[in-house]
Symmetry: C2
DNA sequence: TATTGTTATACTCTATAACTATA
DNA sequence: TATAGTTATAGAGTATAACAATA
C-alpha cells in the first residue's frame, strides 16, 4: 500500500476559488512532508528565558557544552554542522547573557575552551522542560512505539549516525 | 524500548578534543532529529533548470498551479502556508522565467489568476524527476513500508491533514 | 603552510506594516 | 470598511572570503 498514489484531495478548485485544493504529487513526497513538518513544528518555537528568547540552536549549544565542557569553537561548530563563522553570533549572545564563558586554551593559544556557566546550567534545565513539553505536543496521538519508529527513521534518513 | 534513554554516544570528550562527542538528551528528541533531517536533506538541494536554480518552494508553486489553474495569489499563499507578501518574490521570478503568467481576474479586478505556462509544464516535468530522484536518495535503505510509515507519521505530526 | 577564531559581507527566506486599487 | 496584490523594510540564519595570531 503506497503512501498515496491516488490523490489525497477531493475536488477541483472552483472558478470562484472556494473549492478544495488539488495537491498533485505533493502529499506523496516524504521530503515535502519533512519540510512542512519541520517548518510548522519550529515556527513560533522560541523559548523565553531571562527576558529574551533562545532558539533550538542555542539549546543545542548549551546541551553540548554541558556534556562536553571545554569544547573548542571549531569542534562545537562541526558537531552542530555549521561553519565556524556561523556559530560566532550565537556564542557571543550566550556569553553576553552570561550562560557561556570562553577561556583561551593553555595548550593551544589559538583555541578557546567553551564552558557553560552555573547560570547557563540553570537556564538549560529550564530549556529542557520547554523542549520536553514541545516533544509531547508534536508527538500527541502517537504511541511510544510510533515515536520511536519516527525517531529511528528520521535518524537514518539524515545519516546522523551513518 | 525507548528511542534512546541510554546515550547513543560512547566516550567522553578528551581534554585534547579528540574524543567522541557526548550528545546528552539530543538524540532522543524527535523535534531535533526532524530539524537535522530537514536541514541535511534540503541543504544543497537546488534544481538547475534553464540556467538558474529553482528551490523546493518553486517546485511546490508550479505543482499547485498545474493542478489548480487560475489560483489566486492569496489562495496560493495560504495553501503553501506563507504570508501573501512572502510569495511575491518567488512569483515574480517564475514570471520572469516565463514559467508562470498572471492575468487580472474578470470578476474581481483586484485579483490575479495565476497559470503555469507550457514552458512551465515542461520545467515542472523536469523538476518532478529531480524530486523523485531526491526521494530515492533520502529513503535509501528503507523498505516501502517504512517510507509509508515515515510519511504518515510526519503528516500526522505536522497536522497537515488535521 | 595550516589552523583557530573572528570580522565583513552577502544571500535566502520570511514577516510586518503601509500603500493602491478595487470591492 | 475590507480585501488583493504590492512595496519597503527588517530580522534570523547561514555562507564565503579574508584577516591576525598561533601552530
Amino acid at each position: 500500500m503506497s503512501a498515496s498514489q491516488a490523490p489525497h484531495d477531493a475536488d477541483a478548485l472552483d472558478s470562484d476559488g472556494k473549492g478544495a485544493m488539488r495537491m498533485g504529487v505533493l502529499p506523496t513526497l516524504v521530503g515535502r512532508q519533512l519540510r512542512i513538518a519541520y517548518l510548522r513544528t519550529f515556527k513560533d518555537f522560541s523559548m523565553e528565558v531571562e527576558g529574551t528568547s533562545l532558539s533550538p540552536g542555542s539549546f543545542e549549544i548549551l546541551e553540548l557544552l554541558s556534556c562536553n565542557p571545554g569544547l573548542s569553537h571549531s569542534r562545537l561548530a562541526s558537531a552542530i554542522g555549521l561553519e565556524k563563522s556561523s556559530l560566532v553570533p550565537a556564542i557571543v549572545r550566550l556569553e553576553e547573557m552570561a550562560l557561556v564563558k570562553r577561556k583561551q586554551s593553555a595548550t593551544d593559544k589559538r583555541s578557546n575552551e567553551l564552558r557553560i556557566t552555573p547560570k547557563g546550567e540553570r537556564v538549560l534545565a529550564q530549556l529542557r522542560s520547554y523542549v520536553v513539553q514541545r516533544e509531547t505536543e508534536i508527538t500527541a496521538g502517537m504511541t511510544r512505539a510510533e515515536v520511536d519508529t519516527l525517531n529511528r527513521l528520521l535518524t537514518r534518513m539524515a545519516g546522523i549516525n551513518g
